[in-house]
Symmetry: C2
Subunit: 211 residues, 2 copies
């Protein structure tokens, strides 16, 4: 009984990733899987396997699965914020700026469908409210950039209907509606997506903003 019968140690444990190296590896692997297979497909085990490490190891670097995926989404949303900030600075007609922001928003969503869904579609059921708070706050800052421009329009008295607040929310919501439907119902026979975006923006801006 002294023969403790240690397992043959299989195949040497993966050496320590010094510093934050391992954390980065995990994020990278998680991103690959998450982008390819979405929230459900990105399981802790799959990510760990991809890194070549036990599933437990992920909890060294992240509180839980959602923290990993939210950090990935943060990266995406940050890029969106940069786009909005850049547009925010351009000295052009605010209506044109609103249009560019919304179009960039839709383009972004269609190019990052999984991150977009996680942040803007999932909230209910998938994650508790608190978890998404940090990422949501990033989204809010994007929206704030947008509100600023709508306020400019409202200030010049060009808003045809409703308050600046409701106009901004409606503009945002309608763009969200188009991209989220395109993402979640790919089997539907959509008209050309460029045309849809254009019709949406033409309609909305013509309807809400006076010439």
């Amino acid at each position: 009984m002294t023969t403790v019968l240690k397992k043959p140690q299989r195949s040497a444990r993966k050496p320590k990733g010094d510093g934050h190296m391992r954390r980065g590896e995990i994020l990278e692997a998680a991103q690959r899987i998450f982008l390819a297979e979405g929230y459900q497909g990105a399981t802790i085990r799959k990510i760990a396997d991809e890194v070549g490490v036990s599933s437990t190891a992920l909890y060294m670097h992240f509180k839980d699965k959602d923290e990993i995926l939210l950090e990935i989404s943060d990266g995406a949303i940050t890029r969106l914020l940069e786009i909005n900030s850049e547009l925010s600075g351009r000295p052009i007609d605010p209506v044109v700026r609103v249009r560019m922001m919304l179009d960039a928003y839709m383009g972004f969503a269609l190019e990052n469908p999984n991150a977009y869904q996680l942040v803007f579609c999932a909230h209910t059921g998938l994650m508790t409210e608190e978890k998404t708070e940090a990422t949501s706050e990033l989204g809010d800052r994007c929206f704030q950039k947008f509100i600023d421009v709508v306020n400019e329009i409202a200030a010049s008295g060009r808003l045809r209907t409703g308050s600046a607040e409701s106009a901004a929310q409606v503009l945002w919501a309608s763009c969200h509606g188009l991209v989220s439907l395109i993402i979640t119902k790919p089997k539907f026979t959509w008209a050309d997506s460029t045309e849809l975006r254009q019709v949406l923006l033409d309609g909305m801006l013509h309807g809400l903003v006076a010439d």
Copy 2:
């Protein structure tokens, strides 16, 4: 030893629900839980407990969990189809009819958030494409009622931008965007939802339809 020591039968098995009675009980319990706790919260075991039956029993009446929830959603969508059919028959200006349909759509979504989400937000990841086919087809029939009216408008040459197809899709999508965002982001500080619906419809219809 003749005393076979039958287990005290615990607490007598639930007697047979004759005919299709049990099926109805399951649907009812599932609906209660689904409406209260959404897709994730409505687990097979919870539903079975509520009915007072083992989890396995549910598989006597339904192929799998999704079949249960989709049948519930079917009921909801059918009600929406009835509303649309009713509006479809009214002899009023097609623009007014479009507005009423869209407003009814949004009202319906806000009153049946979980069913709405299951059918219009979940498609990706949660369920395979085939499963939702039957329910989707119901949704398509609702949309067809709507397209018909938009076609009427287009036929009378009152469409300002885009084809009837893209106009219909954009109108639908923008309404979907508003309600789905309100449902999935309840923490956001929304303007009054009645005003939002009105601003959206005013804007969209004014923008897309010539007077």
